[in-house]
Amino acid sequence: MLKLAVIRPLLAGALAAAGVVAGANMALAETTYIRGNDGDPETLDQHKTSTVAEAHLFRDLYEGLVINDSKANVIPGAAESWEVSDDGLTYTFKLRDDATWSNGDTVTAEDFVFSFQRIMTPETGAKYANILFPIKNAEKINKGEMEPTELGARAIDEKTLEITLEQPTPYFIELLTHQTGLPVHKASVEEHGSDFVTPENMVTNGAYTLVSFTPGDKIVMEKNPEFREFDSAAIDRIEYLPIEDRATCVRRFEAGEVHSCSDLPTEQIASLKERLGDQVRIAPYLGTYYFALNTEKEALKDPKVRQALAMVIDREFLAEEIWAGAMLPAYALVPPGIGNYQGGGATVEWAEMSPLDREDQAIALMEEAGYGPDNPLTLEISYNNSENHKNTSTAIADMWKPLGVNVTFNVRDLSAHYATLRDTSDYEVARAGWIGDYSDPQNFLFLVESDNTGFNYAKYKNPEYDALMDQAAAEGDLEKRAEILRQAETVFLRDTPFVPLLFYSSLSLVSPKLQGWEDNIRNVHPTRFMSLSE
């Protein structure tokens, strides 16, 4: 009996090992989470980062004042509590006593002050510094007009941090979950300069520390023994794999070599759902896919034309047929499920109309504007090279035909496409997409403010709209603010500077072995809340 009892587990072990030769490195004694990521980070300096792939890494390495839990709720992080002054301008954070850096140092208010000053210093070259522009004087410092020490952030004592804002910003706490709000370890940055990001030098305050970073291969992290909730993190080690080819991640997932994939090839979604069932996760995401209409162009100056173009597009077809259900039809700019939008967003009145009625109305609008079969309108759609963008643009060109619109295409690679949008007015209809950085309607509606030269690809200028946005910025009452933002979105939909087409979804593959992965609108999945079963 005894022998058998010993042999059985051995046999089972041998069989299991034989079955997963490929994933042999997963069978280590400690639990290692092999996590597919969209690609390599541009840098592991949180202040210089901008991508979603980087955000995943930083969520495991560092802890900001506040953090996201596995469902993307905002919960206290390095700060245990905070108070907001009555005018909404001053935030006082109380840091946890047990917040510690991985080298044993205490996380202090001074670390945060140093970090906020660092990201605003022009020489840092921070791509996303603007996220924190609500902090007093931040914008001026980033533009080199003020000294970093004049920033509205100061350490009252070792564990008390005070942040002053330019104006009440109801989404400020939400903003701090972004990687730009993460602290750096002051002493190591001062000692090593930009080399503080190497595995030998990096000091973190999150649940994990950096072990190695090999571009194109993997980024390895291990549990941070100094982390205040060390015991609650079940996964000992994470290997982040930068898998740029989505189909590669799917194969490696099916071979049992990775536990999760951060994106999926759209053309495979239908067959994946069939094969893998609920391991395929498709969740609404905070992003909008749209066509910008350059309102400076003669034909697109007329809101009637823009409206007509928006009306005849069959978004359900785009979402289901072209994007294989990986996107949702969009009849508004702000995605559903966003925070601080009490009562929901605005939507176009023709959304529920039958396609035929919509087409009739659109043709009538075009005729009013002077276009029709006798006087066709020629438009150029610019998009960045990608199979899905091509199919989307081609389908839309076809949908515009009944309006007497002839379409030509201008295809560039990503850099050239966005450089054209930024630096020139040399386009008519342009594809673009926007993924929200924080869960607030302002983060979408600000795109077409007239002074937003970077993102207002429509060159839309409407004083009424700008006034509403200013009014919303000054409003402290969230209900009233939501109402004003809704009015702004109604104006947007009436004027149609952008044609919203689709809302993004986040696409993931999650192994049944991996517990604690909760689908959420921010697509945030901190490893410390997950566990692995063999």
């Binding site: 490195n25 840092t124 070259g125 791509k127 291969d217 930068p242 194969r251 071979a255 990503l414």
Partner: protein, 307 residues
């Protein structure tokens, strides 16, 4: 001989200089810059970045700056991997590409010569036809089809080998990428060897060897093959340079940390320095391998001498 090599290497310097100059300016002609992404940057932020990377200077000044750094062996910082400079990226990736490419080259040479020789010896037999058929297949089916197929069959369905990943360079992780890289080369080498072997077997010195009564194995393996591999050697020079500097397709599909991806990624992201670094590496490899081919010719063909 030594003088010849030295002359060739010195002669390569102007070539490399031209390559560097042409690529530098061609890169700048492409619209957009390293900081143009889906998410546009604030004007001021962009200006800060351009200053950090000296992109706010005139192009000729940037060019002189680049040449100055290059002369000191500094290839500059990468734009898409900001924690690394280009030397570090190449130092990490090149050994991976060389290992994969080197093995593929070896497989191509061995398998190609054997198949080609057999086909030549059994000319117009079923063996010959099947070698030709396999060779045609190897040349025509592109690696972006072969790579996912191999990964799917051996990685996912049969679970015999890893479907992807580098695994610290473990042999099992190299099998599928090496096969993918070697397949078209095996095919080409086999066809080249077959053709020249048929010719060599009819040549005077082989006929003489036969007349001396040397064993067939010796005749084919030494005398005929030596002459027959000349075309294959001249083909393999540039092919080796290409193989050893990595393949974007194989690296992307198998998820390998080589340098093949850097060239394409660098170009698409306008990572000027990374593209320049990769171009220089490729140019050096091409120069060196052409030199090696010429030296090999001298060793293999008694009619060629460099003095």
């Amino acid at each position: 001989m030594f003088g010849y090599v030295l002359r060739r290497l010195l002669g390569a310097i102007p070539t490399l200089f031209l390559v560097v100059t042409a690529s530098f300016f061609l890169m700048r002609v492409a619209p957009g810059g390293p900081f143009d992404q889906e998410r546009a940057l604030e004007a001021k932020v962009l200006e800060n970045l351009n200053r950090v990377f000296h992109l706010d200077r005139p192009v000729w000044e940037q060019y002189l700056y680049y040449l100055g750094n290059l002369a000191r062996g500094d290839l500059g910082p990468s734009f898409i991997y900001r924690d690394f400079n280009v030397q570090q990226l190449l130092a990490n990736g090149l050994p991976v590409s060389i290992q994969l490419g080197g093995l593929a080259l070896l497989v191509a040479l061995l398998a190609g010569s054997v198949l080609g020789t057999i086909a030549a010896l059994r000319q117009n037999s079923w063996i010959d036809y099947s070698v030709t058929a396999v060779a045609t297949f190897g040349i025509t089916v592109p690696n972006f089809v072969v790579a996912p197929l191999l990964s799917l069959i051996f990685g996912v369905w049969l679970s015999m080998l890893p479907a992807g990943g580098w695994g610290g360079g473990s042999p099992q992780n190299m099998v599928l990428p090496v096969i993918t890289l070697a397949l078209p080369q095996v095919a080409i080498v086999a066809r080249l060897i077959r053709g020249s072997m048929i010719e060599a077997l009819r040549s005077d010195h082989v006929r003489t060897a036969r007349a001396y009564g040397l064993p067939t194995r010796m005749i084919v393996g030494v005398h005929a093959l030596r002459a027959a591999c000349l075309p294959a050697v001249s083909y393999l020079g540039p092919a080796a340079a290409a193989l050893l500097t990595g393949s974007v397709v194989v690296e992307t599909i198998f998820g390998l940390p080589g340098i093949g991806r850097y060239f394409v990624q660098g170009a698409l992201n306008r990572d000027y320095t990374l593209v320049m670094g990769t171009v220089i590496i490729i140019a050096v490899f091409v120069v060196v391998f052409n030199l090696i081919v010429d030296l090999l010719y001298a060793a293999l063909d008694p009619r060629v001498r460099y003095d």
